[in-house]
Symmetry: C2
Subunit: 198 residues, 2 copies
DNA sequence: ATTATCTATAGATCTATAGATAATGC
DNA sequence: ATTATCTATAGATCTATAGATAATGC
């Protein structure tokens, strides 16, 4: 009890990190503050010295859950395995991603709940979406930026929808079919390879 | 108090119908049984003579929320305005649909929450997804059924993802851009018009 | 002295059940 | 007699706050 300020900052990050994972796994209403604080090795009373309200935590935790592609691209630049849109598609629509929402895309795990959240959460989400559109558009070959952006928006929409559906159905074969089909169609269609069209 | 069996069946349908709308609007955990029964003009006590548990209601209400395209197509056959995939795309990605989740697609409103629901809800959802894939595949022109099915799966994925994102962002311009872009790309790309490719 | 965290709890939920009441239906 | 619905409530949550405790940091 009674720690330093540096310690508090670390504690804050730990709470956000755990919440960010748990929200994606169990939904924005899937657990209470007591359960969260316990997992962080703390008790419920300390929570409100870190956040004004539960919604405050939601905004911060959801926001921190975004940026996977950005981190993936940065890692690639500093020596990780190289990225291409085809690669990001394969990773996004993998069974690993499907079965591990806690460390995956916040959108496929939470989009409808974010839509019902307060202004701050949705505002932060808007920025992240804009960032992802830009990131994918930059990675796409295209005649012009406008075309690249359109394709990026279609690809991201298809990814989010396909993963959401693959998780919602209980039939494993159907789930795999969704992942596999969208993976292949996106990679081979004229949408991501415009050259093939001309 | 104390009504006929026919009356009870009607009451049951009314509860399911209201719940189906409210789930899509407020999420699967967005309201309690007391609130629901009050909206149906009843009190909380009667609920468990209609459903074994809350999850039972979820399964039934979510299932009844599907089938929009089927009803749309049936209506068209019996004299309504004609359907085509292009038309369904325009309707699905309209601002009207975006702003009225209660009467819209259960998938874009609930997919991640369905993914966390019990077996029965997910099993019923699987069947509905299969039905929708078939329905759209049938409406698509294609060399063979396999190609049509692949395209149907891509289109539906893109629709669900685009609408989910359009609802989640707070920036109206960005939201409209998502709807408009996916609408146009899906309608014009080789994905839905294979002839253009050959 | 300030503050990060703790214990304890108020007040508002929510699901589910028990038992009463007023109809239906044999 | 059966049953569809009602009133009332038990027991388990959950968010947020008050006040105590044990550190930090001037």
């Amino acid at each position: 009890m009674g720690h330093s300020r540096a310690e508090k900052a670390k504690t804050h990050k730990r709470i956000v990190s755990i919440a960010s994972k748990k929200f994606r796994e169990k939904g924005l209403a899937g657990f209470g503050i007591a359960e969260l604080m316990k997992e962080a090795g703390l008790t419920v009373g300390g929570f409100y010295k870190h956040f004004d309200s539960r919604d405050d935590l939601v905004a911060e935790a959801v926001n921190s859950a975004f940026g996977g592609w950005q981190r993936r691209t940065d890692a690639s630049k500093s020596g990780g395995s190289p990225v291409s849109v085809a690669r990001l598609i394969d990773e996004y629509l993998s069974e690993t991603h499907r079965d591990n929402p806690g460390s995956g895309c916040a959108f496929s795990a939470l989009a409808p709940e974010i839509a019902r959240s307060d202004k701050r959460t949705r505002s932060l989400t808007s920025e992240q979406v804009r960032r992802d559109f830009q990131l994918i558009a930059t990675l796409l070959p295209a005649r012009d930026r406008r075309t690249a952006r359109s394709r990026a928006i279609l690809i991201i929409s298809a990814l989010v929808g396909a993963l959401s559906m693959a998780r919602a159905v209980s039939d494993e074969a159907l789930s795999r079919e969704i992942l596999g089909t969208v993976r292949e169609v996106l990679k081979h269609s004229a949408v991501s390879h415009p050259e093939a069209k001309a």
